[in-house]
């Protein structure tokens, strides 16, 4: 089986599991007392932000590895990860306001986490724009690796600066060090959605990587 086929299977399985997670979320998971049905979007929003961050982290890591080892496979992986990360960022950025409107009463606020994720989205886009503007594959790989590493280092600074600036985002209550304060059923649903989105990321990246392999034999 080729890589793209395997990637397709992983994606299909992940999508089926995603359906399963949503059945569980809607039917078997208790409704949040204050937020009601709107809270159900957590099971897409939170894991897609996880996948986007995973994509950014692995993009940065692949960039570092590329500069040290000069192996084009890392570059191809970084490119795949950036595209998939862009998609997940978009999901996160659209589901966020959908939830925020009924709960916060506004589509968007310049809260720390929102700014951070928006900037992450812009960095993905900037990364892809740069790749599109360089034709020589060797040059493109080095340039995008440099940008990828800078982006990874920048994220904590953006986080810190916007955090000092202002925040009103709900704090993570599932994974905080003390005992989770959410009901166990909710926690399990959320954690399984994390697993499913990670699998989705893997499936997408496998397909995208295979495409890159086919399109430039460089």
């Amino acid at each position: 089986m080729t890589l793209v086929q395997r990637g397709r299977w992983v994606t299909v399985i992940a999508l089926l599991l995603l359906g399963g997670v949503y059945v569980r979320a809607l039917v078997f998971t208790p409704e949040e007392r204050l937020q009601g049905l709107a809270q159900k979007i957590y099971y897409v929003h939170v894991p897609s932000s996880w996948s986007a961050m995973l994509a950014m982290g692995l993009l940065g890591l692949a960039s570092i590895l590329f500069l040290f080892l000069k192996d084009p496979r890392y570059d191809r992986f970084a490119a795949a990860s950036a595209e998939v990360g862009t998609a997940f960022s978009l999901v996160m950025l659209t589901t966020g306001p959908l939830w925020a409107k009924p709960i916060w009463g506004t589509w968007w606020t310049w809260d720390a986490r929102l700014t951070l994720t928006l900037m992450m989205f812009f960095m993905f886009v900037g990364y892809l724009v740069l790749r599109g503007a360089v034709t020589d594959p060797a040059l493109r790989a080095r340039y995008s690796a440099v940008l990828g590493i800078c982006g990874l280092v920048l994220l904590p600074f953006i986080h810190l600066s916007v955090y000092l600036f202002r925040t009103l985002h709900p704090m993570p209550i599932v994974l905080k060090p003390s005992a989770p304060s959410a009901p166990p059923a909710m926690v399990i649903t959320l954690l399984s959605s994390f697993a499913v989105f990670t699998l989705l990321y893997v499936g997408f990246v496998m397909q995208r990587y295979a495409l890159g392999e086919a399109s430039n034999d460089a």
């Binding site: 000069k70 084009p72 594959p137 060797a138 430039n216 034999d217 460089a218």
Partner: protein, 226 residues
């Protein structure tokens, strides 16, 4: 003076250089002929240390400081005068401050740029710019010359003059590598000849007195079309 041993370079599955090996002594000139994309410029950049090859080694007596590079771009700063350009490059090569001026003046005289010395580089004609570029490349008295299509864009008279100058430099004991796609341009300067295709030397050896016409036939045979 300059040697390459089994130099190979690749990006992914794209082979740019494949097992290049040669040695060049004082006074020798190696002319490398090949079509565009054969890896000629990549090889020069590897020799100059601008590209680290995946495999193989390059040995150069004197290191980067010993290299004089003449390409089809002049590497001059347009807003600076010819003299200022030469003085800047001399300072980068740590030519002693007291010698920079005399070295620059000498090269300007030798290359017939006396009238243009105080002119901004951007106002020079193509031929003048090429001569200024040669002066720039020689300002630190390099012992190895790397020439990347140096005849491109020169008219017949200027090309002839450049050939004469390169001949003089080789006679004065420099080692020269010249790459070009035009067999007619470099043949008479060369002591050694290589034909290059797809990153490899498909033919390599002393010129042994052959002229451009007979070489052109061998070239077509070895490289194809060309």
């Amino acid at each position: 003076m300059l040697s390459a041993r089994d130099v190979s370079h690749a990006y992914g599955s794209l082979r740019a250089l494949d097992g290049i090996t040669f040695t060049l002594d004082r006074g020798q000139t190696l002319a490398i002929f090949g079509p565009n994309g054969a890896g000629k410029t990549t090889l020069l950049k590897v020799l100059a240390g601008l590209i680290h090859p995946r495999h193989g080694t390059v040995q150069l007596a004197g290191g980067r400081r010993a290299i004089g590079w003449i390409g089809h771009q002049s590497q001059l700063y347009g807003p600076l005068t010819v003299v200022e350009n030469l003085l800047f490059w001399a300072s980068l090569y740590d030519v002693p401050a007291a010698e920079r001026r005399t070295r620059a003046d000498e090269l300007i005289g030798r290359l017939g740029l006396g009238g243009q010395a105080q002119q901004q580089a951007r106002t020079l004609s193509r031929g003048q710019a090429q001569r200024a570029a040669i002066a720039r490349a020689l300002v630190h008295d390099p012992s190895v010359l790397l020439l990347d299509e140096p005849f491109t864009g020169l008219d017949r008279v200027a090309a002839e003059e450049l050939r004469r100058l390169l001949g003089e430099l080789a006679a004065a004991g420099r080692a020269t590598v010249l790459v070009t796609h035009n067999v007619e341009e470099g043949t008479e300067l060369a002591s050694d000849i290589a034909f290059m295709r797809a990153g490899r030397f498909v033919a390599f050896g002393p010129r042994a007195g052959r002229d451009a016409v007979s070489l052109a036939a061998s070239y077509r045979e070895a490289v194809g079309g060309g």
